[in-house]
Amino acid sequence: MAGIVGYGAYVPRNRIKTEEIARQWGKDPGTIRRGLLLEEKSVPGLDEDTITISVAAARDAIERAGIDPKKIGAVYIGSESHPYAVKPSGTVLIEALGIGPEVHVADFEFACKAGTEAMFVALGLVESGRVEYALGIGADTSQGAPNDALEFSASAGGAAYLFGTKDPLVEVLETFSYTSDTPDFWRREGEFYPRHGGRFTGEPAYFKHVLSATRGILGKSGLKPADFRFAVFHMPNGKFPLEAGRSLGFQKGQLETGWVVNTMGNTYSGSSPTGLAAILDVAEPGDKILLTSFGSGAGSDSFVLRATKLLVERRGRGRTVRSMLDGPRRYLTYGEYAKFREKIIVNE
């Protein structure tokens, strides 16, 4: 059975508090924190981007798998903030990690779902037997427009999943994808900041797809929420994933571990993949895990996963998500944040 043979995640060390952003725009920090359930978010350094984050995460994934990188037959990075409009992120990564040159590389995009999308394709390729190992990565350094609600949540980070058929740390039991054309959030070519449909991003977009995909996978696999130890959903803010989980019948205890958004923010394509990594850092053999992502536009990818004994043996070889979220970090002022996110106009 194909599964995850290695995983890794990366969260940058810089942070900005919700309070600091609220103060900048004359908003009441308490209201925002309570409304979005966000305390702080990660901020990439000027020297970090989707590629550097993917490299850091994939390095841990390869380390945990303990395989020769040259055996990786496919590399897919899903992101909404690939550094180039034309020139792949994946090719930089393979050179950094010593993968290839015999390797298939493609970049994926689908707003916040691009990560699980890359994972889905990597899994399928391995299951088909066409490649021995395949990497599916979700990473982003998403932008939020100044003085917009998304500025509180758009953050940076990502996770990498190496799929294979031998010695999985996590088995993939089922997948289900639910997609429709729903213009809830988009960015046209050449625009610096994305735009969104306000409240339209809720029920008709996020909830419709997350709930439908999850109900679909539960139906297809014959499982109930109570069968799972953990569940993680895409986290555009602190509230949505908890509401989604509750409507589907999951308990708080099942949602807690993967719910990393309140201090990490929404890492877009990295969101549910990083939440999953946080779960894998502590899951016990036999634990079933549900993951449902969401990407505006819109669609959701759902996975049913099961941890194996090998997960516990191997996970010590890489960094845990909590060590990066709770470990050494630096808080920025809004001015520093604006500089790091290149929101300040300069002559080129």
């Binding site: 020297d47 590629i51 850091a56 930089v92 950094a96 010593g98 080129e348």
Partner: protein
């Protein structure tokens, strides 16, 4: 930076590829044709460890135009366990905290970009091991 010049250095910049002299054992970075220690010509490919120690450092306040946004930033000469030395920025820390003997990891980061439309150039930077 012109693309071919950047591309040629990728093995060294991305993977810390170095060379080891089979005559005297000296590891030098980046790879070269002649051993700087014994002038030997028999060099085998190797890669440096991704850990190092700071030898000397400074904090740059006035940098080249394209690095000015990052200023002040720390730069250091660091030495890997193979006794190869390299010059690198030290990031993700207070620049004032960088001192000789500090242990660092060599991480993959974006080093520079050629203005708004040019290529992005990647390489190694040191991050303190805490």
């Amino acid at each position: 930076m012109p693309s071919p010049r950047y591309w040629r250095e990728i093995p060294a910049r991305f993977r810390l590829e170095a060379c080891r002299c089979t005559s005297c054992g000296t590891t030098s970075f980046p790879p070269r044709l002649v051993c700087p220690s014994c002038r030997g010509r028999s060099l085998e490919r190797t890669a440096l460890s991704r850990t190092a120690r700071v030898i000397t450092s400074t904090v740059i306040h006035v940098g080249p135009a394209e690095f000015q946004m990052e200023a002040p930033y720390a730069m250091a000469v660091v030495e890997t366990p193979e006794k190869a030395r390299l010059m690198t920025q030290v990031v993700d820390c207070d620049p004032q905290s960088v001192l000789p003997g500090m242990e660092v990891s060599l991480e993959f980061r974006k080093i520079r970009r050629e203005g708004k439309g040019g290529i992005l150039c990647y390489g190694y930077k040191a991050v303190p091991r805490l």
